[in-house]
């Protein structure tokens, strides 16, 4: 066995170890106690596979330098942005990093298709499918990033949009067939193929409302995994096949769980143009919102037996999680029973609120999910809604015309009093009126969540 052969064996073995570490890592990430060690195990696998590949790949000096420069540049940018970004902006960063992975899978496919040195049609076809999925995931994730980051504020919708998207899809698939079968080849054909695939990702994602972005990001995460798996087949790379497929399957399940939490099918999320109709006809919310001063709200909280806090995206935007926990600790000192109620899709991702509350140091046992807490709203004196909207909208239970009808919600309307901390009188992110806000027992505390909760803290201190 010469050096090159034993090198290849070593590479394959390192990929085997990496795949093992990835699966163990994912497994450990499934429990809060072992989660940090999970990502580290997976990280070791990644470093091992990368280093062994770097040592044993047969690159010219120029290519070797390019590889190292590209890793350094991409890695450094991601490292700095990942370390600096606020916890609340994590969802869009995940979208961004995910898009990069999709783009990388697309690039591998592009290398295969442009260089045209693949003989077998099967190989070309797998490369093209992976490239297609990766490209859609790339451009789609970038749009999702733009939307969550606030760079793209409008959901672009026009009549006949689905037909246009379908046409783009068909053209892309047609071009893919042509390239693979050899009936239309050359750089132009390949470029058109990728161009249309990228366009499809953009066109698919633009009409989807911000409230649905968690599901979309999760879907693109699964798609990137699949694309990586496909390119793994092309490159005979077992680590890519296993890791990509594991992520593809896991991501698909995660996407379904999220869609289910919103009581909608994935097709509904992707094609129903959520929130489109709510502006005009579906709104049946009548009545006026009644404001409350922070001092009165503070007294109400301080003299309650039981308070259930419902955090939402507004808390995340205002970075108010530390203040919220400070307020709750104060209330606990006053002998108030405090619970946190987390809706599965509160915020921009499932578990988004849990991450933020964990950051603020809220113990797990105060945090309950939908099924555990909903019966308890009956016995709560105050439901304190902090920047949450759709997840507490009773229209989801009662109003068949509402776009969110059927979505499981937190029954905040069952509490004796409801205090809603909200930036202004307008509609929330999804553009749907909220029937909770005009109920008799509801009082609105307008303002940025950070400052409003700060005022509540002062008020509770003054009351006690």
């Amino acid at each position: 066995m010469d050096f090159a052969q034993s090198g290849q064996t070593l590479v394959q073995l390192s990929y085997l170890v990496a795949a093992f570490l990835f699966i163990v890592g994912l497994k450990r990430m499934s429990s809060p106690v072992t989660a940090v060690s999970g990502i580290r195990w997976a990280g070791v696998g990644m470093v091992l596979a990368t280093l062994v590949t770097l040592v044993f790949m047969h690159a010219s000096q120029l290519n070797l330098i390019l590889v190292i420069v590209a890793i350094a540049a991409g890695g450094a940018l991601a490292w700095i942005s990942g370390k600096r970004v606020a916890m609340t902006d994590m969802p869009q960063m995940i979208a961004l990093y995910n898009g990069m992975g999709g783009g990388a899978a697309g690039a591998i496919a592009a290398v295969e298709l442009y260089s045209g040195n693949e003989q077998s049609v099967t190989h070309l076809a797998i490369a093209a499918v992976g490239g297609f999925i990766g490209s859609v995931s790339f451009s789609g994730s970038l749009i999702a990033f733009g939307k969550l980051q606030g760079l793209i504020t409008k959901s672009v919708r026009f009549s006949g949009q689905k037909l246009v998207n379908l046409a783009i899809l068909l053209v892309t698939v047609g071009l893919g067939f042509a390239v693979v079968s050899g009936s239309f080849t050359g750089p132009l054909a390949v470029s058109l193929f990728f161009g249309f695939a990228l366009l499809l990702g953009i066109a698919m994602t633009l009409p989807i409302g911000g409230a649905d972005m968690p599901v979309v990001i999760s879907l693109y995460n699964a798609l990137t995994g699949l694309a990586v798996g496909f390119e793994g087949f092309v490159l005979d790379n077992a680590a890519m096949i296993i890791a990509g497929t594991v992520v593809g399957a896991a991501g698909t399940l995660l996407t379904q769980l999220m869609a289910k939490a919103m009581n909608r099918s994935l097709a509904n999320v992707l094609f129903a143009n959520f929130g489109e109709s709510s502006g005009a006809g579906a709104s049946t919310v009548t009545g006026t919102q009644k404001a409350i001063e922070a001092s009165d709200a503070g007294v109400m909280l301080a003299f309650s037996q039981k308070v259930i806090v419902v955090p939402g995206y507004g808390m995340a935007v205002a970075q108010a999680q530390h203040k919220v926990w400070e307020l709750c600790q104060l209330l606990i000192e006053h002998g108030v029973q405090v619970r946190f109620a987390i809706h599965p899709v509160a915020g921009r991702m499932p578990g988004h609120m849990n991450v933020l509350l964990a950051e603020a140091g809220v113990p797990y046992d105060l945090i309950s999910d939908l099924d555990e807490i909903n019966a308890e709203f009956d016995t709560a004196d105050v439901a304190l809604i902090i920047g949450a909207n759709d997840v507490v909208n009773p229209d989801a239970r009662t109003n068949k015309a509402s776009p969110i009808f059927g979505m499981p919600i937190l029954s905040a309307d069952k509490a004796k009093n409801v205090i809603v901390v909200k930036r202004g009188q307008g509609q929330g992110f999804s553009g749907i009126d909220n029937a909770l806000f005009v109920l008799d027992q509801t009082r609105m505390l307008y303002g940025d969540a950070q400052s409003a909760v700060g005022q509540l803290i002062q008020a509770v201190k003054a009351a006690g």
């Binding site: 990835f22 994912l26 990430m29 120029l62 990093y97 591998i108 594991v246 593809g248």
Partner: protein, 99 residues
């Protein structure tokens, strides 16, 4: 090339593994887990490296360079984001122990 049928076996077993591993995850870990699985498909980096290593024209070099750049961003960013999120669960857990 990995034999076609064997490749399908790998595909099937890996898909089951992914499905099983995730199906037992509590809701509170969904975001870190999405981020963690996002990191894991960063293994596309090794594929992009090999693709760039064998590049022999300028066009392919440019695409390969972009591919490695993006893949490195996926891997490193995915790791940093996931670790930061999971760190918070550790500190929250410790605080809980002290209460």
């Amino acid at each position: 090339m990995i034999d076609g049928v064997i490749a399908l076996y790998i595909f099937m077993l890996a898909a089951f593994t992914g499905y099983e591993v995730i199906s037992r995850v509590p809701v509170i870990l969904h975001t870190p887990l999405m981020s963690g699985s996002n990191f894991i498909h960063g293994i596309v980096l090794v594929g992009a490296m090999v693709a760039l290593a064998t590049a022999d024209t300028t066009l392919v070099r440019v695409i390969g360079f972009v591919g490695v750049f993006l893949a490195a961003g996926n891997a490193v960013g995915g790791y940093v984001a996931t670790e930061r999120m999971l760190q918070m669960f550790v500190s929250a857990g410790k605080k809980k122990g002290n209460l």
